[in-house]
């Protein structure tokens, strides 16, 4: 009997009137866990009942504790007829199962009904007594911590980063069961909510088990998703990165270490020279495989790829402790390492050695269970594309889905190898389902990680590292990990503009956040590529074939658009790239979002040249030159807007030698010719230069126009889809997280691709414009972590959902950014509450003693000379921040007691809260809600319905966080927002899935007095750290 769950129902308030006659309610509560149910007394005639019940005790297995949600139902007692349900509260008790998180859940929870929404609140106290269980065959994984945050959580230190964990569970969707025909919508919704709650509990437990097998104690970057496959079932799947985390206050026992790469080495039979000697090969910033064409294309270009042969680390360098650790690990843990993937997007400095580029893979699958002879035709086709897995028609078998994903992951892994990388970081997976067709997508950034950095820093190792890599701050990760002599596709390589020693590509695309030590010129901006393609309506396999034929073209065009827009902004790198392909009945939509920046290490991007096809026509030429001028003007304007100064200036600041003549890069570019036909699919842009636009038909003309129609944000606004905006470091504490949803109906008449593109483009642009307008009071401000999701709920409907956070910043300080790197990182340290740098702190303080040079004295000197700066800057920031904060949140920052108002809970998609320090992680929030209405008009139409529902979801998230004792949710994400309407029947239904990490934060201004010494102390090793790697 490993656990005792105790629940007390205290009171209710604001209950709805259930008895029309008396305008009152006779409420009582049912508390259910597993198969046990308790009831409170009926509290007669009150809308604010005080039950003050006894402690209801449930004695349960910890397995159940993890899987089952606590279910609290509030009912109205009725003597003569059945009791009426008022609503329910589901409480995930997982946060109570590990010691460092919450110890009690206590607070007011909104009582939720899937038909009526929130109907009053209930005050509940929940506690868990856990008994130690030493049974090693146990099925539970209590104690494994889960984090949505895709970096090492603040106030923790990674002892070991074990690597990729994944799991999925499958069930029948209650909405599609036969019983659904005879039960009420409420019963059906509740069955679904409960099932998903159960499934995610089970999933989390299973993942936890895997983590325990790997000897980890936490999952970071945990991403759980639902696939509503309709008839064929419901899939809940999750990926994450297993870690061993240490609470920061405790003394460091181990050096931070990354197991995965070393594991990789162990597996590989071939020992390769360290990364640079690696003879492989791919320069495409996006390296994609979509369906057969690409696969073919790919296999031709990289014929020498062998999975196991590509370990690019140095196998001989494994440290003793590692071996010991590895030996301890179970077989299944080893199998997990088949995929050296990391869901993390931000890393401790030095962890990331090189970045190869984006790798992605997509696969179209049929969810249909019915055997259809027609499939044979496709399978017999020359295309090697796997539409269907013949052996796995039974979708209730998780193995089928497992196999699908395994396939995709293998592909990703092989792409990474092709780029000379042994790991994939910033890894994520997604699906798009329409009827019985499902597109599975995975993407990440191929990277070379630094295992030596994470081992005991022996003298040779460090020396060697210095000699062979000589990594300067802020450019090392840009250096190509592949061999320039053996590239499958021609690419423009130049010597790094920062260190002049290593080769860098001319552009770099990644899915990760901008590394904190990267040297950036100017500011970044959100760059989006938007694309629609019509598709004939078709059934099953024909449909799947059509889709898989379209996909490569879409990838290509999305990539071209991204490239062009990047050039137009005068920038040379993309971070946080996320390409979403959505499938609908009669079209495919592609939406790529990323944050463009100018990396100082990469060459200055060339302009965009327009080339016409009919040279003899004078007016046409004129037109072309006019366009060219417009484009050039835009580029110049953008450079000014994003403060992209001529690189000379930045180079002077960095203090590197005068660069080689810049003509060199220009020369390279001018040589490139555009001779190929567009129809030839070649994602690499190897021969067809990405930035020469040919205007040979209206399509191309449209492209150019669409390029120019992207309006920059109004003055005072910036936007990005990464955690923080490059070039802005002085955030103030005012944040506003929001979700915006738009559904647009396309006119069904003669839709063309162009019209579609324009519609889609307008939709996104208008949405952004609306956001800028709404948030104008926050200027100067930046929209961070802008996350667009596109879905096609019906034939002619496009739904775009955006979640982001607006953060104000201090303009005065923003002007004096980009001085020197050190100063910049100091500023960042002071504003990003130095948590980002906890890692460097630990790393450096550990590695300094064993490090041969620079001498410790120098450290001290540099540290002491700098030590004043952060504190001073911090003071300024705080000082300047406070009037603003007080203006808008006058009473909010005060402890929520005086007016007995509800405590403020902040929500943000970021992993940090500006101007604050996260002191405790309380556990993961993972909630799934269904809302349905049969009185759509009365609730204000679709907008009124969804507006209220999203507000309710926010409220329920906040209430749960507050009950855990927290005051914020970080890494918040709305993973799903499925909206369906039937205006004719006056009905609508919506499903929303959100997650995040509940935390406790303390304002830095509150900390100030206590720990003036502390931040300074933290910053010192940082400065030192900067020097160490130089």
């Amino acid at each position: 009997m490993p656990g005792k769950l105790k629940v007390k129902i205290v009171a209710g308030r604001h209950l709805p009137v259930m008895d029309r006659a008396s305008d009152l309610t006779d409420a009582f509560v049912e508390v259910k866990f597993g198969n046990t149910t308790f009831k409170t007394d009926v509290y007669l005639k009150s809308l604010n009942p005080q039950w003050n019940s006894e402690w209801f005790k449930f004695e349960v297995d910890d397995e159940d504790l993890q899987d089952e949600p606590l279910q609290i139902t509030v009912l109205d007692h009725d003597t003569y007829s059945a009791n009426d349900a008022i609503g329910k509260v589901y409480i995930d008790i997982d946060p109570l199962l590990y010691s460092e998180a919450a110890t009690v859940i206590s607070g007011w929870f909104p009582i939720y009904d899937t038909i009526h929404g929130i109907r009053g609140e209930i005050n509940v106290i929940v506690k868990v007594d856990l008994f130690n269980d030493l049974n090693r065959f146990r099925q539970s994984s209590c104690g494994v911590k889960f984090f949505c945050t895709t970096s090492i959580p603040k106030c923790y230190r990674a002892v070991i980063i074990h690597g990729f964990v994944e799991e999925l569970v499958v069930n029948e969707d209650p909405e599609y069961q036969w019983i659904d025909r005879i039960r009420t919508p409420r019963a059906s919704n509740e069955a679904r909510q409960r099932l998903i709650s159960l499934m995610s509990g089970e999933l989390q437990r299973k993942i936890g088990l895997k983590v325990l097998e790997m000897r980890g104690n936490a999952v970071v970057g945990y991403l759980q998703c639902f696939d509503l496959e309709g008839e064929s079932g419901l899939v809940v799947r999750a990926i994450g990165t297993a870690c061993t985390l240490d609470k920061l206050s405790s003394p460091a026992a181990f050096l931070p270490a990354c197991n995965s790469p070393s594991k990789e080495m162990k597996e590989s039979p071939l020992v390769h020279p360290p990364s640079h000697g690696c003879r492989s090969t791919h320069n495409s910033p996006i390296h994609t495989a979509t369906g057969s064409r690409l696969t073919q294309n790919f296999s031709v270009s990289v014929p020498t790829l062998i999975y196991t042969g590509m370990g690019s680390g140095s196998a001989g360098k494994e440290g003793g402790p590692f071996k010991a650790l590895l030996r301890q690990q179970t077989q299944s843990a080893l199998e997990q390492r088949e995929f050296p993937f990391f869901t993390l997007t931000a890393f401790p400095p030095g962890f990331l050695v090189h970045v190869g580029g984006v790798v992605s893979a997509r696969s179209v699958k049929l969810l249909d269970r019915i055997h259809n002879p027609a499939f044979v035709g496709i399978m017999g086709n020359t295309r090697s594309y796997k539409l269907l897995d013949w052996n796995s028609f039974n979708s209730d078998e998780p193995e089928t889905r497992d196999a699908w994903w395994a396939e995709i992951r293998q592909e990703i892994k092989s792409h990474a190898k092709a780029l000379g990388c042994h790991a994939v970081v910033g890894y994520s997976e997604s699906t798009s389902i329409c009827e019985e067709v499902c597109i599975l997508s995975a993407s990440g950034t191929a990277a070379v990680l630094n295992p030596r950095f994470l081992q005991d820093g022996t003298l040779e190792g460090c020396l060697e590292q210095r000699l062979e890599e000589n990594l300067p701050v802020g450019c090392g990760f840009c250096h190509i990990p592949y061999d320039e002599l053996n590239m499958p596709f021609p690419a423009h390589l130049t010597y790094c503009y920062n260190c002049r020693k290593q080769k860098v590509p001319d552009v770099l695309f990644t899915t990760i956040d901008l590394p904190t030590d990267a040297t950036v010129v100017g500011k970044g901006c959100l760059i989006q590529a938007r694309l629609c393609r019509l598709k004939k309506k078709a059934q099953a396999e024909a449909n799947a074939t059509a889709i898989s034929n379209l996909l490569p073209f879409m990838e290509y065009e999305v990539h071209t658009q991204l490239m062009n827009k990047l050039k137009l902004k005068g920038m040379n790198a993309l971070f946080g790239l996320r390409i979403q392909i959505t499938v609908g009945e009669n079209m495919l939509m592609g939406l790529a979002s990323a944050t463009g920046v100018y990396l100082a290490a990469l060459p200055t991007p060339g302009g965009i040249q327009i080339a016409g096809k009919t040279p003899n026509d004078g007016s046409y030429e004129q037109h072309i030159s006019h366009m060219q001028k417009k484009i050039n003007d835009t580029i110049a304007k953008n450079k000014e807007l994003y403060e992209i100064n001529p690189p000379e200036t930045s180079e002077e600041l960095i203090g590197s030698p005068i660069p080689e003549p810049r003509q060199h890069s220009r020369l390279l570019r001018s040589q490139s010719e555009s001779s190929d036909e567009v129809t030839e699919l070649d994602l690499s842009h190897g021969k067809k230069d990405a930035f020469v636009l040919e205007i040979d038909d209206t399509d191309a003309l449209e492209d150019v126009h669409s390029l120019l129609t992207d309006v920059p944000p109004p003055p005072g606004f910036y936007s990005c889809n990464t955690e923080i905006m490059p070039g802005i470091n002085n955030w103030t504490s005012e944040i506003q997280m929001f979700t915006s949803v738009r559904v647009t109906r396309l006119s069904s008449l003669n839709l063309t691709n162009q019209a579609l593109n324009k519609n889609f483009n307008d939709l996104c642009e208008n949405l952004l414009k609306s956001l800028y307008f709404k948030l104008r009071s926050m200027i100067p401000c930046c929209l961070c972590h802008v996350n667009f999701t596109v879905s096609l709920p019906e034939d002619e409907l496009i739904q775009v959902t955006v979640t982001a956070v607006a953060i104000t910043f201090d303009k005065n300080q923003a002007l004096q950014t980009t001085k020197t790197h050190v100063e910049k990182s100091l500023q960042r340290a002071s504003t990003d509450n130095e948590e980002l740098l906890q890692f460097p702190l630990e790393l450096c303080s550990d590695s300094i003693p064993s490090h041969p040079f620079p001498p410790a004295k120098e450290h001290l000197e540099s540290a002491s000379s700098n030590s004043g700066i952060p504190a001073a800057q911090r003071a300024v920031t705080v000082e300047k921040a406070s009037p603003m904060g007080e203006g808008n949140f006058r009473n909010r920052s005060a402890p929520p007691c005086a007016n007995s108002t509800v405590g403020v809970v902040k929500m943000t998609p970021l992993s940090f809260i500006p101007g604050a320090k996260i002191t405790k992680y309380l556990g993961i929030i993972n909630m799934f809600f269904i809302r349905e209405t049969t009185s759509l008009r009365e609730e204000g139409g679709v907008s009124g319905f969804l507006h209220a529902f999203i507000a309710e979801v926010f409220a329920m998230v906040r209430a749960h966080v507050a009950a855990l004792g927290g005051n914020a949710v970080v890494s918040y994400i709305m993973k799903q927002c499925v909206f369906m309407e039937n205006p004719n029947k006056n009905q609508a239904q919506c499903l929303i899935n959100v997650s995040g990490d509940a935390v406790v934060f303390v304002r830095e201004s509150d900390l100030e007095v206590v720990s003036t010494q502390h931040p300074t102390a933290n910053c010192q090793p940082l400065c030192a750290g900067g020097e160490v790697t130089t």
Partner: protein, 364 residues
């Protein structure tokens, strides 16, 4: 391409004060958009009309959802659905319960029942305030009235506690409730020159001095619903006021009173002769008003009577305000020197309040 659905939900609920005002003023979304366009916001922000339309719709939807909570402001504080900083909550409530001078003058003292609501159309036409806004204001009056009508204790405190209004606004509502409960006539033509502020001032004085609560008496029977401490006039007091009649009925007393006042004021008033000539009329008027207050109908006509019997005669003789003040002070004070008059306390309770009211009512 049309937007079927277009929403924006912030973790902290966005409140645009300008749009809130337009909403409170009862403008439709399209009118509000037109007004906002006219305010030059498009030029300032570089937004398009479509953006403005979407933004206005969003705010209107939010306000619509908030309205339910605004009907019981403490709910707004405790609810979990909208995260709104307290300062903003206060602003929402205060603005929602604010009313137009023109509107309140129309309904002040009227019965706040459904019957009157039909007149809202007329009021709307007459005042130029949108019908929607009239509805809101009227419903606010009615709601506050319903809640505090039966409540014991200080009227202002009750309103403040249940509607979380500012002190100023709570006092105004107290006046509205008090007037509505006692149904004072304020709509007569001769009362048109009076502002809401004038009436509210009088109401406050009357609540302080003429109600049960004013005496500080604990109700004898706590279960009795007879008298609400602050809302109803002290019936016993009104009954007693009959006793004052002796001041004008007894000729000697009246003459003595007059001579006392005249002696003191001689040479001090610019309108002394007019005062002397009118003294008996004025005194009769003031005392008769008091004596009549036992009848509900006469209570309703209190202000009409005061204006007719005192303000108008004085005004026609062009009394300066300073003279009115001197006269009233002396008029009330001299009664203490009338040996035959035994109801000094009663007189002070009556005249103290009336003097304040009359001085406030005496203007053009």
């Amino acid at each position: 391409m049309t937007s079927e659905l277009d929403i924006f939900v912030g973790n902290t609920t966005l409140i645009d004060e300008d749009v809130y005002r337009l909403w409170l003023d009862g403008y439709s979304v399209s009118d509000a958009v037109a007004l906002r366009v006219r305010s030059g916001i498009l030029e300032q922000t570089g937004a398009t009309a479509a953006v403005l339309q979407s933004d206005t719709m969003d705010h209107y939807r939010t306000f619509h959802m908030l309205e339910r909570l605004l009907h019981a402001p403490p709910k707004l504080l405790h609810q979990l659905i909208f995260q709104i900083p307290p300062s903003r909550q206060a602003l929402l409530i205060e603005r929602y319960y604010a009313f137009d001078e023109a509107f309140v003058r129309e309904v002040l003292g009227k019965k706040l029942s459904k019957g009157t609501k039909k007149d809202l159309d007329d009021i709307s036409t007459k005042t130029g305030i949108t019908l929607k806004s009239c509805r809101r204001q009227f419903d606010n009056f009615k709601r506050v009235f319903k809640v505090v009508e039966e409540m014991r204790g200080s009227l202002v405190d009750n309103i403040q506690q249940h509607f979380l209004l500012s002190d100023r606004l709570s006092r105004d509502y107290a006046a509205i409730v008090f007037f509505a409960n006692n149904r004072f006539e304020t709509g007569k033509k001769k009362l048109q020159y009076l502002s809401f502020g004038d009436f509210a001032f009088c109401a406050e004085l009357m609540i302080q001095n003429w109600t049960l609560g004013a005496v500080g008496e604990a109700p004898t029977d706590p279960d009795s619903q007879v008298d609400d401490m602050d809302v109803d006039l002290d019936k016993e007091f009104l009954q007693d006021l009959k006793e004052l009649k002796v001041l004008v009925a007894d000729k000697d007393l009246l003459d003595l009173h007059k001579s006392l006042v005249c002696t003191t004021l001689r040479g001090k008033l610019t309108v002394f002769s007019e005062m002397e000539a009118n003294f008996k009329n004025l005194s009769r008027g003031l005392v008769n008003v008091a004596a009549k207050l036992t009848h509900n109908k006469d209570v309703r006509d209190l202000f009409v009577d005061l204006v007719e019997k005192f303000v108008e005669p004085c005004r026609s003789d062009h009394w300066p305000l300073a003279d009115v003040r001197l006269f009233l002070n002396q008029y009330s004070a001299s009664v203490h020197s009338l040996d035959g008059f035994r109801h000094q306390a009663l007189w002070d309770r009556y005249m103290g309040t009336l003097r304040g009211c009359l001085l406030r009512l005496y203007h053009d």
